[in-house]
Every structure is written in structure tokens, then in C-alpha cells.
């Protein structure tokens, strides 16, 4: 950007959007700053939704990230329950759902993802997805009626929801289309351990099957027909089969939105336009390839990079990925790339002890480290991974 921006607009008011806005202020940006979100709430944190908020361990207000005073103090104008519907990069305007057009000279796109849905059945009562606070509170209300619950999909969200509801003592079935839970993310070895953890806690785990259709009666879900011809009775169904980037509003803008907002290594999508978080597909200089990540850590770190670059820093974004999941009091953490196609090597502890570190990589080159109840031992490997050389930015 040749001149300093005077109005930066951040579209998307979750952790990426909030972090971008706060970073702009931290870096000394003193112009107008508007943060727009389509939910009725001030920015809140999502990881607790499928954990503490779902089980009721936390009041919903504990997920809030800042008080309204803090936005005033930082001079961030937060517009809630407003949805961006169109972007005109030529005129540098964003149109909102009420027809208002907001002019910007710097834009951060942080609209995140939307949960994928089954082709049919979502019109039935008792069928849930879990992405927002309101989704979570709706499901939590339903759990108070002690339904028999089936979770469809065994990725991070699906396995955390299954663990949470099982912890509440509910009759829980987990439908896993792959060979084991999380196998698509962490490979079959870790996946089978996750599967055993769920089975040990009394979850009925169905692997290698998908859902053909949902059944209902009087508008309420009654169960699921599975691809192997079997039927599962259920009073509540949570569909957690992944998500898609929320880029509908960018159609016609001229931006490339092929599986996310396509950006360069600096998180820049077009002059004056940056993207961060789940929605951003940026050129990862560490891997030398376009990448989109749906992890909480990435949302904040990428937002910092995008905001700094919007102000002219010109720093390629080359993060070391980190994610964690908590299930039944066990904590699984991973740094780096834990490719599901490679066999991890256990270097510390053992699955039998319920505590181990496993390394992922190929040809003796370590790309990722996973710790299962092993935070302290994992730290050494994390430090080594951070020191791995980063390929030159494009």
C-alpha cells in the first residue's frame, strides 16, 4: 500500500478478525477500524464450544473474548448481526445485508467456514451442526432432555462432541466413515487409539460406514439409515462432517475463491485485501504449497501476519502448525505436519501407559510431533521443529 490506510474493515468477528483488528492497533494504526460479524454476539472463542460450553462446565459468557469496554478503548467499531453480501475491490466497498455500502482502503477477510451438511434431513428437529455459540446452546438445551445421540463424522469436532455428551452419561453413537476416528487427520495408528478411548468410555463406535438418510416422525429425527443397511435409533443427531469456506459473498468480486480466499505468502489476496483464519488459502513458504488450515492457533497467528502486512511489513507467513484436542481428560497435542499417510514412530512412553510422544516424517526427516498426555516431553520436539529451515517465500 503506497499510503497509510485510513479505514480498515475487518469482515468476520471471530478470533481471526478480532486478532487482526487488535494487531492493527498494536502496530500503531490509528485510523478508523470496523469489525463486522454476522452473529448476534461480540467475538467469542470457539474451542470451548465443543468442550466446556457443550457440557455446561462453563457458562456461555466465559467464551467471550473481550468486554464491550475494551472495544471502545481500542477504538474498534464492532457491528454484530450484520452480514457482508458483496465486495467491490475496484470501488473498495463492502455491501452489507441491509444494503449499506461501507468504503475501505484496507480490508481483512476473516469470514471462516460453515459446517457441511448432509444432503437431506436438516429440516428435522433434533438434527444439529456445531459451529456457533447459538448452535452449541441449542444442542445443550436438547441434551438436557437426555436424548440418545448419534454423532456423524469423527474429525475433531465430532470426536469432541461425542466425548462431551458421553461424559454427561448419554447414550452415544459415533459414526466414522473412515477406519478410525481422526484417522483422516492423524493416520490409522493414532486413530485406532482414539477409537479405543471412545469405546472404553462406552461410546458405540461404528467405523467404515456412512449415512444414507435420516429418518423422522412428526418432524423430529428418529434415527439414521447407514450405508451397510443397518439402522441406528437416535433422538438427537449432530452432523460434524467438515466445513467449507464462507466465501459466497465474494462471488463476482473477481477474487479467486477456489477452496478459500487464495492469497500469496503475505496473506494478500489483492491490493489492500488480506485474508486470515479458516477462510484463507495462502501460499505456505514452509511447505512451498497453497494451504488452508482450520485450527485455532492458525487463526490468531495468520491474523497477526495479515494485519502487519496490510500495514506494510512484508513478512511471509510461515507458521509451525499447532493443534490440540481434549477428550475424556486426555489431551492430544501436535506440532508441525502429522501426515496421515505416514506411520508415526513412538519415541517416548507408550499407548499402554496412556502417555507417549510420536514423531511423523519421511526418510528420517521429522515433520511433526504428537503428544498424548505428554506436554513436557513434547516441548523438546516442538523446539526442534521450530528451528527447521523455512523455504524462501515466493
Amino acid at each position: 500500500m503506497s499510503t497509510a490506510p485510513r479505514h480498515v474493515l475487518v469482515v468476520g468477528a471471530s478470533i481471526a478478525g478480532l486478532t487482526a483488528a487488535e494487531t492493527l492497533r498494536r502496530e500503531g494504526y490509528d485510523g478508523l477500524l470496523t469489525l463486522i460479524g454476522d452473529e448476534p454476539h461480540l467475538p467469542y472463542d470457539r474451542p470451548p464450544l465443543s468442550k466446556q460450553i457443550l457440557t455446561g462446565a462453563w457458562e456461555p459468557s466465559r467464551a467471550a473474548l473481550r468486554s464491550s469496554d475494551e472495544y471502545d478503548r481500542l477504538g474498534i467499531d464492532v457491528l454484530t448481526a450484520r452480514r457482508a453480501t458483496a465486495l467491490d475491490p475496484g470501488r473498495r466497498t463492502v455491501e452489507l445485508d441491509d444494503g449499506e455500502r461501507i468504503a475501505y482502503d484496507g480490508l481483512v477477510i476473516a469470514t471462516g467456514v460453515r459446517p457441511r451438511r448432509l444432503p437431506t434431513g436438516h429440516g428435522l428437529d433434533g438434527v444439529h451442526v456445531l459451529r456457533t455459540l447459538d448452535d452449541t446452546l441449542r444442542l445443550r438445551d436438547h441434551l438436557l432432555r437426555r436424548p440418545r445421540i448419534t454423532v456423524v463424522g469423527a474429525g475433531f469436532t465430532g470426536t469432541e462432541v461425542a466425548a462431551g455428551v458421553r461424559t454427561l452419561g448419554l447414550d452415544t453413537t459415533l459414526i466414522c466413515p473412515g477406519p478410525a476416528p481422526l484417522a483422516g487427520r492423524l493416520g490409522p495408528v493414532i486413530g485406532h487409539l482414539v477409537g479405543r478411548l471412545h469405546a472404553d468410555h462406552g461410546v458405540r463406535l461404528r467405523t467404515g460406514v456412512g449415512v444414507t438418510s435420516l429418518t423422522g416422525s412428526d418432524g423430529h429425527v428418529t434415527g439414521l439409515e447407514l450405508t451397510d443397511g443397518s439402522h441406528v435409533d437416535a433422538d438427537a443427531v449432530v452432523v460434524a462432517i467438515g466445513s467449507t469456506p464462507a466465501t459466497d459473498w465474494l462471488r463476482g468480486s473477481g477474487l479467486d475463491v477456489t477452496d478459500g480466499v487464495v492469497c500469496d505468502a503475505y496473506c494478500r489476496a489483492a491490493p489492500g485485501i488480506y485474508a486470515a483464519g479458516d477462510v484463507a488459502r495462502w501460499h505456505d513458504p514452509r511447505l512451498g504449497t497453497p494451504m488452508r488450515r482450520e485450527h485455532r492457533t492458525n487463526a490468531a497467528e495468520q491474523a497477526i501476519a495479515a494485519a502487519r502486512n496490510l500495514l506494510g511489513a512484508r513478512e511471509p507467513y510461515a507458521p509451525l502448525p499447532y493443534f490440540w484436542t481434549d477428550q475424556y481428560g486426555d489431551r492430544i497435542q501436535a506440532y508441525g505436519i502429522c501426515s496421515p499417510g505416514t506411520e508415526p514412530r513412538i519415541v517416548h512412553g507408550s499407548p499402554a501407559e496412556g502417555s507417549f510422544v510420536a514423531l511423523y516424517g519421511e526418510d528420517g526427516h521429522v515433520t511433526g510431533a504428537l503428544g498424548w498426555n505428554s506436554a513436557r516431553q513434547l516441548r523438546t520436539y516442538a523446539r526442534q521443529l521450530i528451528q527447521e529451515p523455512v523455504a524462501a517465500a515466493r
Binding site: 478470533i15 486478532t19 487488535e22 494487531t23 498494536r26 472463542d45 474451542p47 470451548p48 473474548l65 485450527h295 485455532r296 492457533t297 490468531a300 497467528e301 497477526i304 499447532y322 490440540w324 481434549d326 489431551r331 497435542q333 506436554a375 513436557r376 513434547l378 516441548r379 516442538a382 523446539r383 521450530i386
Partner: protein
């Protein structure tokens, strides 16, 4: 500058220890430990960075 750390939120990523090692440490379970709740001014930028990068939003800062 006064820092508060909510250990109940902490996910054990260790980001704070890497970003501001004079102010944060981790216990054996990986849970962050606050070494200095009122660090000197020259560490303020590192602590702000740690707070922004914390994946569990467990670090809060208040100016005095």
C-alpha cells in the same frame, strides 16, 4: 502492566514460553505458569504478542 493467566483455559501449547520466556513457564502437564505478573516495561511487547498468540485466550493484560 499487570498480567493475569487463567490456567483453567490453558491448552498447554507453550506459545507464551516461546514468545516471552522471562514471564511464562510451563509445569509438567504443560500448563502455563506466570513467573512475573508485573513484568518490566521492556517486556510489554513480548507479553502482548504472547497474549495475542495464545490459542486458548488465557492471557489478559491490563495497563496500570
Amino acid at each position: 502492566m499487570r498480567i493475569t493467566l487463567d490456567q483453567d483455559r490453558c491448552c498447554g501449547a507453550g506459545t507464551c514460553v516461546l514468545t516471552a520466556p522471562d514471564v511464562f513457564d510451563q509445569d509438567d502437564d504443560g500448563i502455563a505458569v506466570l513467573l512475573d505478573a508485573q513484568p518490566p516495561a521492556h517486556l510489554a511487547a513480548a507479553v502482548r504478542d504472547a497474549a495475542a498468540r495464545c490459542p486458548a485466550a488465557a492471557i489478559r493484560m491490563e495497563a496500570e
